[in-house]
């Protein structure tokens, strides 16, 4: 079933268009940086961007930091929101259930397909970022500099970039879980995607509000940028671990709700 879902997802032109558009913004940023040579001062603008001019090998991380706050969540919400509601809207859901595909099985297959999409997207952003980085900027493939100022070996840099890709993927699982959960409640993929985005916008907004500080640690977007901590020396695990745990809780609760709803629901679409 998971193979079928992946075939459906990746045979769809829209999936690839989404990934392509997602890569466009980091490329535009890179080109502008090269043309103007105006890097943001350290500590300002997207993470890592200030360091990119001296070491292009860091650009994959800058690219992830650029798409992470908005573009990536939008893409994930659209794909995950479409997963059940899209089948309902197209009318194919009734044929799948009557085929029969177990409802739990279908939900799990949809979730796995979305996770594969997230992973592929994040990896593509990182790879394209690396290629853009080493072609446009001076790269120091021999070593990199950590955010803390110490030197990292190539191997360290590679491993930590791998960690960062993994962490960003997990952060997106929360978005996917919100969208998938809403997707089982509505027959409109648009409503499901917008619902998930509304949650994220609300979360980001509350995060900036001092009055909301008591609930800040539980906001789904709270630890998203903690992937930067992989590039401190030594790695600062505190926020990373909290971020993973928080995403885990969101995913478990939302999927539980999605499962309870979907397995007892009348398919009338």
């Amino acid at each position: 079933m998971i193979v079928v879902e992946l075939r459906k997802l990746f045979r769809r032109p829209r999936t690839w268009v989404t990934i392509a558009v997602l890569n466009l913004l980091p490329i535009i940023v890179a080109v502008l940086l090269v043309l103007t040579d105006l890097a943001p001062r350290p500590g300002q603008g997207p993470a890592f961007l200030s360091a990119v001019l001296t070491n292009g090998a860091l650009f994959p991380l800058a690219a992830l930091a650029i798409v992470l706050p908005l573009f990536l969540p939008i893409a994930v919400a659209v794909i995950a929101g479409d997963s059940v509601a899209g089948e309902a809207q197209a009318g194919t859901l009734r044929y799948l259930i009557a085929r029969p595909v177990g409802r739990t099985r279908l939900l799990v297959a949809k979730l796995l397909a979305v996770l594969v999409f997230v992973l592929v997207t994040v990896v593509v952003v990182a790879v394209v970022g690396y290629l853009v980085g080493v072609t446009l900027f001076e790269a120091e493939p021999a070593a990199g500099t950590s955010v803390s100022g110490t030197t990292l070996t190539v191997q360290e840099l590679l491993v930590r970039t791998g960690y960062a890709v993994g962490y960003v993927t997990v952060s997106m699982c929360g978005v996917a879980a919100f969208a998938l959960c809403f997707s089982t409640f509505t027959d409109s993929p648009l409503a499901a995607a917008l619902g998930a985005l509304a949650v994220l916008v609300a979360s980001s907004l509350l995060f900036t509000l001092d009055a909301a500080s008591p609930i800040a640690p539980y906001l789904p977007t709270r630890y998203w940028l903690a992937f930067v901590d992989f590039f401190r020396d030594p790695i600062l695990w505190r926020d990373i671990v909290r971020g993973l745990a928080l995403q885990g809780v969101y995913v478990v609760v939302l999927l539980g709700v999605a499962w309870a709803n979907f397995t007892t629901k009348d398919v009338t679409s």
């Binding site: 009318g91 009734r94 259930i97 009557a98 177990g102 009348d266």
Partner: protein
């Protein structure tokens, strides 16, 4: 008549949506080898019933048994042996017909991968899409989609076909073609459950008929019994007055040149009229049409919305 295996049985099946009872305690009885015509006006609960048979909608009360198994629990065993067309076909528009069938077949149990290509080729041939190319379903006409939907239902050589309005969107030739195909499948042993609001379609194909009216099964009988001769003869004559005089007291109704006469044997009526010199241009055993039977059994159309106080009697 020999007792055949039950294929679909429902007992006291109820589906309530809020305060309305979409399906209100129906007891369906479909047996192996039937072409069961499931008739009902729009909104009478046909589709909800079909969806409950297939495990899409969960009953509020009552039981559903399909091919000897309780639904929806037995779905995993039973549904691979059932082909369904539910409220029109639905496919991924960006993929070709073959790819759609292949994905549908791969997503559930009961369709072996080894034979998939051949089975898809066979069913496409069967529904008249044998020469279909790689173009996406998006570009198909309504009739082609309907045929593809039927192909999807036939893919695993099902013992039972549950078809909701299978000739929707087809032209007259297409309708005749699909009818022949279904009759052929029936001849080789497939049980067909055909839901429709088209009386003519049911009358031409069904061996048994169930009529749904506002969620209740008001009639369930062999078609041959429903349309059995009534014991009357229809006489057509250019001189109805003379005929009336000859057949004194036996004329039930008179409608222009058409008389309905109490007489089981048309030949006897003919002999009397001819002997009396009354010209006879037409003579037939009277049978009720399915339409007459259904109209007598069912009340007004379910999509009529009456003003309170003058609502249709229940």
């Amino acid at each position: 008549m020999t007792e055949r295996d039950a294929v679909i049985t429902t007992r006291g099946l109820v589906k309530r949506y809020g305060r309305t009872r979409a399906v209100d305690g129906i007891d369906l009885d479909v047996r192996s080898g039937d072409v069961y015509g499931f008739l009902g006006a729009n909104g009478s609960g046909k589709t909800t019933t079909v969806r409950m048979l297939l495990g899409l909608v969960l009953p509020t009360q009552g039981e559903v048994e399909v091919l000897g198994r309780r639904m929806p629990r037995g779905g995993r065993e039973v549904l691979p042996r059932v082909g369904a067309l539910i409220e029109g076909p639905a496919f991924a528009g960006h993929l070709s017909g073959r790819e759609n069938l292949s994905l549908l077949d791969a997503s559930g149990p009961g369709g072996t991968r080894r034979t998939r290509r051949r089975r898809i080729g066979d069913v496409l041939e069967q529904v008249g899409l044998g020469g279909v190319d790689r173009r996406p379903v998006r570009a198909y006409s309504l009739g082609m989609r309907q045929r593809l939907g039927l192909a999807g239902a036939l893919l695993r050589r099902p013992e039972l076909l549950v078809l909701d309005e299978p000739t929707n969107g087809l032209d007259p030739q297409g309708i005749a073609e699909i009818r022949d195909l279904l009759l052929e499948l029936h001849r080789v042993g497939t049980t067909v459950f055909l839901s429709s609001h088209l009386l003519a379609e049911i009358e031409q194909m069904a061996t048994r008929v169930g009529v749904l009216d506002r969620g209740r099964l008001v009639l369930q009988e062999e078609l041959a019994v429903l349309t059995a001769p009534t014991g009357a003869t229809v006489v057509t004559t250019p001189d109805p007055a003379a005929a009336r005089a000859v057949l004194d007291g036996r004329v039930l109704t008179e409608d222009g040149h058409r008389l309905l006469v109490t007489a089981a044997d048309p030949a006897e009526v003919n002999a009397r009229l001819v002997a009396a010199g009354v010209p006879v241009t037409g003579l037939a055993v009277h049978r009720p049409t399915l339409e007459e039977v259904v109209l007598a059994a069912a009340s007004t159309s379910a999509d009529r919305v009456e003003r309170p106080g003058q609502g249709a009697p229940r």
